[in-house]
Amino acid sequence: MVVVETKLETLKKLSQTENIDETLFKMGMELAGTENGMAKVEITAERIDMLTPEGLARAIRAYSGKHREPEKPKSSGFSINAEKVSRPYIACCIVRGVSWDAETIKETMNAHDKLNRNYGRQRKKAAIGIYDIRDIRFPLKYCEEEKSKIMFVPLGGVSETSGNEILSKTQKGIEYSGLVPGTKAPVIKDAAGKALSMPPIVNAKEFEVTEKTRDVLMEVTGTHRGTVETLLSIISSSLEERGGRVETIDVVYGDKKTATPATEWRRETITGDYVNSIFGTLLSAQEISKLLERMLYKTSISGDTINVLIPPYRADVLHKLDIADDAGRAYGFDNLVPESPKVPSTGGVLETRKLARNASEIMIGFGFQETMTFVLTSRKDQFERMNIAHEECVEIENAKEGGINIARKRVLPELLKALSYNLHRPLPQRLFEIGDVISLEKSDTGAGDRKCIAAIVSDSRAGYESISVPLCGLLGSLGLKYMLEKTDHPSFMAGRVASIIVNGKHVGVAGEVHPLVLEKWGIENPCAAFEMELEKL
């Protein structure tokens, strides 16, 4: 979920809708708060066109059935020559007639910032620039120059600064310098040779948009053409909502010329059958086209086929399914009556679940409390605190939670951890867990999971029998042929530890926990424990 903030009154006015939160819910959005007259709206992540307050208002207005699409933009007659730049794509246009008061400027800049971060992927894929057009001479040029040669007074600065200095000394420069590696940087220049900006870093102060601004130039540069051009459609159509008139600019790449933003809408066709098969409805093509018009599409019908025109700012429509989905949203999911499907099938659980159930029932019968602990843990907990040498295991790269760096190979350390967190709780404490451990294995992923069962008894007089008795009870009740054979294990006391052998295979270990291990966990009562691989039984 992404949050869009704008003045509640403005939103109500632009959208011509009073009961905003009801409408938003039906659309799949949410009015999350209205403090200080500001509406905080949570929108779904794919509706980039709603990231601007105007786009949000437009969507609400259309849903309420009150939208009218403005006239198609005309050409400004101007052009920009796009040379070969490491940040290859650019799209730009002019918008005339918006009244730029303080609030409009603030909301527009916020929206652009959000779009740059989100849709523009932190300006890498696309980034927006907006300028007061008054002193700009056309045609424009988009090219690359030596960073040291680029000179202009940046926004927020006082004197002429070189590209290098901007990148190393200004806030935006430092933040985004990674997007402009190398000795050259992109620059937009006007016909008089003045630098308008060094995209995607910062604009020149000379062309700053202020309350005196009448007409603006908007551009988007980036590494992904579709994103760049769609983003221009989004921001220009938003200003149309504010009363602006958009004029296209021709972008010239070599010998190819494209007018941006796109004025032609994308075409797609769907049928009534298609929509009904998804929702289980019986809507006619007419009804569906009315629904689609409330979702900003333009439609025309022939028979059961609906010809759909998709607005250029709808970045989220990838497949005709997305159009059908919008028809459903306009219809209202809550208007659909649930209908159980006739899908005969018999159900079942995995064998491991059955085995785990049996084992846990037996352990519970012996008075053990089941615990559930984490698979992700630390080398310290799994090896150092268990007095074992480090082993190869699944390693985690980037955990935010401190101390997490591997996946567990044993469950027992987590039981000791559980005891260490519960020292203040009544004794005896008998815990068991049936859980996953992960080891490195030959598989398509390089790792494999196994289910292990571990149990521990902590009491003032806990000893080998405290664990061997329930262990043998467990193995016996499961109907297994088992043997306990003397062995050595550094986590357990010498002479008080056994290897658990089932059907001739070593499956685990049982014994009195070594006091060194108890000390490392801060546990002051003797403990006896076992751990075995459940699937080997």
């Binding site: 289980g280 497949h319 999911f333 790269e397 996946a407 559980a418 490195l440």
Partner: protein, 414 residues
Amino acid sequence: MHKLTEEGRQYLKNGLPEKNILSMLPSTMHELSKNDNATVALSNAKKRGWIEIHNGEVSLTKLGEDAKGKLTEEEAALDAISNGGNASLQIIRELERRNLILEIKDDVIKKAREQLSEGCQTLTPELIKTGFWREANFREYNVSTAKRFYGGRKHFLKELSEEVAEILVGMGFNEMKGPLVESSFYNFDLLFMPQDHPGREAMDTFFVKNPLKSDLPSNYKKIAQVHNNGGGTGSRGWGYDWDPEVARENVMRTHTTSVTFRYLSRGIPIPSKYFSIDRVFRNETVDQTHLFEFHQIEGFVAADGLTLRNMMGIFKEFYEKLGVKKLKFKPVYNPYTEPSMEIYGYYEKLGKWVEMGNSGMFRPETLLPLGIKCPVIAWGLALERLAMLIHGFTDIRQVFGAQADIQALREARR
């Protein structure tokens, strides 16, 4: 030393049954058999020569006439023994044979006497065997106080997991299973999430540095096409160059949808229903409402002709079995499903609407490359959230992990 059995005490009090029967004679077998102990009485009386039986008629003999009203040796012995005295070896054997007395070993007697002199407050096997309990003085207990004892118990999260599994099995779902360490391919790419999607960032995902990469299945080139330009699924695709090396990167799976896609890739019968209740991982720091590890309940149904209304129908059944009867559905967005819905349930106990799951129909970009042509609907919810709702926990750290309070586990409501 000997003590009387219950039967022995009876006979001491009421007399030997064979003696008692004498006063009822002459009589018939039929009449006499109406009495308790008739068989014992008759057989012993016959043995002693006190009675004669002819054609069902029972009559006294001369010996029997004499024995009437007289104390027998056996009765005398019973009396003596009950008073701590003795009797002849022969009589003792007879009484033992008739199960009227029991021998008490010397060490038992010794122990019982010791216990008595110590002022023993608990009934012991020795006091019972010797009958000396009659001489003990047992103080009254305060029976209203009782110390709490904690027996074994399933983890309440497991209990809920079993309950949910039972509901799903009852609805015809089969359990599925997949690996915890997963390739980005099955976790993200097959789900049509573009490789630069913010959801794939190291911010939210645990990246695994060992083992670093997975092997890709042979269909990966098809997936590359889908991401690039739609690959014939009717979609525009994302319009970028899909990188197989990025897809090979291992992560701790962020959802069990990766398991769903392993099954879909392998090929499943149509129709079929599968579910899983298993661990997933999100790279978060632990706080009141977040854990880096939790369980997801995930289910999917693949069948021809499934519609959104069918999806709602399945949820209605499922949530009703969990006790939630009112549902609301809100359209939402997931990169891999369309349409998608958030499921809200009215939780009676709290008197409010609570989010209870996310769902959707898988996009054609995810299904067509795997050769699946029918609709597949899926939904999921976090087990821990459900548990917190049902058990009234407000802190998720109390629900799962070694740091959970054992006392809370012991005392969780069923």
